[in-house]
């Protein structure tokens, strides 16, 4: 029996003028899956996520979420951009609440989630400050908190941890896994860090060079919590690294 697909991508093609970025991509992501998208630099990973949330329109092909055309107003999705995107005029806690307010959640849910997120992301001490007063990595945590607070069905993250130091990154990797396990959301996570991809994902989507196609869907069937020093882990990491090489 086929499992229910959360995201269906059919013949997705995107070109900017003459430049063909995504070439006829098709794949499914099943509900509750944790998928990491890896690929060479500049291969159109970000373009793909932007298509998925309708920030840009595809040249041809379609993207369906729960069988419907993707629409942030309808679907409970959250997006963490590569660059910090906290609202400068809102305090840390107001930023965290903003998505919930747009979705018109009841007040007690908003209050409860705020406290939860402040703890999970270690932002309690700075809850009343403005993003400008924070470092870039702390500001990014606010944005991650804004996304997590929604308990999204579909969580999209575009190299969210690229600016973090290694300790914070390990910690936040475990946090995203916890959120995923607890809320049963579907996660799409872009990274150029192969170790991160193997550590996090159930499935790795390996993209090719431009014009981009899906080179391989690699299932990562290691038990959790994962150990990055395990031989199987290292073998997988090396395999994926080799797949990305274009020389």
């Amino acid at each position: 029996m086929r499992e229910e697909a959360k995201v269906k991508v059919r013949n997705l093609t995107k070109s900017f003028g003459e430049l063909l970025v995504l070439d006829d991509i098709s794949f499914d992501i099943k509900k509750g899956d944790f998928v990491c998208i890896v690929g060479p630099t500049g291969c159109g990973k970000t373009t793909f996520l932007n298509l998925l949330v309708k920030l840009i329109e595809p040249t041809s092909g379609e993207i369906l979420i729960d069988g419907e055309p993707a629409d942030p107003k309808k679907h409970n999705m959250a997006f963490v951009f590569q660059e910090p995107s906290a609202y400068p005029w809102l305090t840390v806690e107001e930023n965290i609440q903003y998505g919930l307010k747009i979705k018109k959640m009841p007040k007690n849910v908003i209050a409860e989630r705020t406290e939860e997120i402040l703890d999970v992301l270690g932002l309690r001490d700075v809850r009343k400050t403005y993003p400008h007063q924070l470092s870039a990595s702390l500001e990014q945590r606010v944005v991650i908190g804004r996304a997590f607070a929604l308990h999204p069905d579909l969580l999209l993250m575009d190299e969210p941890y690229a600016q973090m130091d290694i300790k914070m990154r390990y910690y936040l990797e475990d946090q995203v896994i916890k959120l995923w396990q607890r809320t049963g959301s579907t996660v799409l996570f872009i990274t150029h860090n192969i170790e991160e991809a193997i550590y996090l994902s159930e499935k790795c989507l390996i993209l090719s060079n431009k014009p981009t196609t899906v080179k391989e869907e690699k299932t990562i069937d290691l038990p959790r919590p994962r150990d990055i020093a395990l031989p199987e882990f290292i073998a997988l990491r090396e395999y994926v690294t080799n797949q990305i090489k274009w020389w």
Partner: protein
């Protein structure tokens, strides 16, 4: 202690420059057949017009008359300028339709409107208010519009992805992001409005600071002219201080940068 030295310097230097200014002024005024009154004469005249009315009003009344014209026009300019600027920045059709006209009218100095407006509206309060309005609405429109154009697209994208509708994108993201630019426009508008009121009063008025300057010219009373010029400078400085304080209240996130 480098820090201490900096502080002393930053307190001392303004005093030195002010002192030099008065010395230079005094020296120029003392020169033979100088038209300029000395600082002392100016101060005496200033105190005198505070007590003795000219054209039925003492100096504080004249200041208030000018200020009232500016403030009435200024508040109209904020309402009109911000809505117009937002419409320009938000609605493409409106921009295409209206921007060419605005671009032609914008560079005309407000003072150039004075004759026409006096012909239309006579010499009551209304024409002065209109002239100040013309002078102060333009910077507000320009700043609001350019502030909206320069908003970080990432902030809008983040809102769209969270499911914000067009109205929320405008009211909850674009406008707050534009507030600092609008406030900068408002500050320019207030000082430009204050300049316009003096100009308008110099041409046709019975009261106001601009009127006093013209009265000084007509009666060869240079002390009166210089005293009024000083008053204009000080009032303008106070207005902008008040506005800067207000900015701190209206957008705290701009003024709490401690990084």
């Amino acid at each position: 202690m480098k820090h201490n030295k900096d502080r002393i310097l930053s307190m001392l230097l303004p005093l030195i420059s002010l002192g030099l200014f008065f010395v230079l002024w005094f020296w120029l005024a003392r020169a033979e057949d100088s038209m300029i009154p000395t600082p002392y004469e100016t101060l005496l005249r200033l105190l005198e017009i505070c007590r003795k009315p000219i054209s039925k009003a003492t100096l504080p009344i004249h200041i208030w008359v000018s200020l009232r014209r500016v403030l009435i026009a200024f508040f109209c300019a904020i309402v009109m300028g911000v809505s117009f600027g937002v419409a320009l920045g938000w609605n493409r059709t409106f921009r295409a339709l209206v921007n060419p006209i605005f671009e032609i009218l914008r560079p005309i100095p407000p003072i150039a409107w004075i004759p026409l407006i006096i012909l239309w509206c006579g010499i009551g309060e209304l024409p002065k208010v209109i002239i100040v309005l013309i002078g102060s609405v333009v910077p507000i429109v320009l700043n609001t519009y350019s502030g909206m154009k320069e908003i970080d697209p990432l902030l809008l994208d983040a809102g769209k992805v969270l499911g914000a509708g067009r109205r929320q994108l405008l009211w909850e993201i674009t406008l707050p992001a534009t507030v600092p630019a609008i406030l900068a426009g408002i500050r320019t508008a207030l000082s430009s409005g204050w300049m316009c009121v003096v100009a308008a009063e110099m041409i046709a008025a019975r009261q106001g600071v601009g009127f006093l300057i013209v009265r000084g010219q007509e009666s060869g009373d240079t002390a009166l002219i210089v005293a009024c010029m000083l008053v204009i400078g000080v009032v303008s400085m106070l207005l902008s201080t008040v506005l800067i304080k207000l900015e701190g209240v209206l957008c705290p996130w701009q003024f709490s940068k401690t990084k």
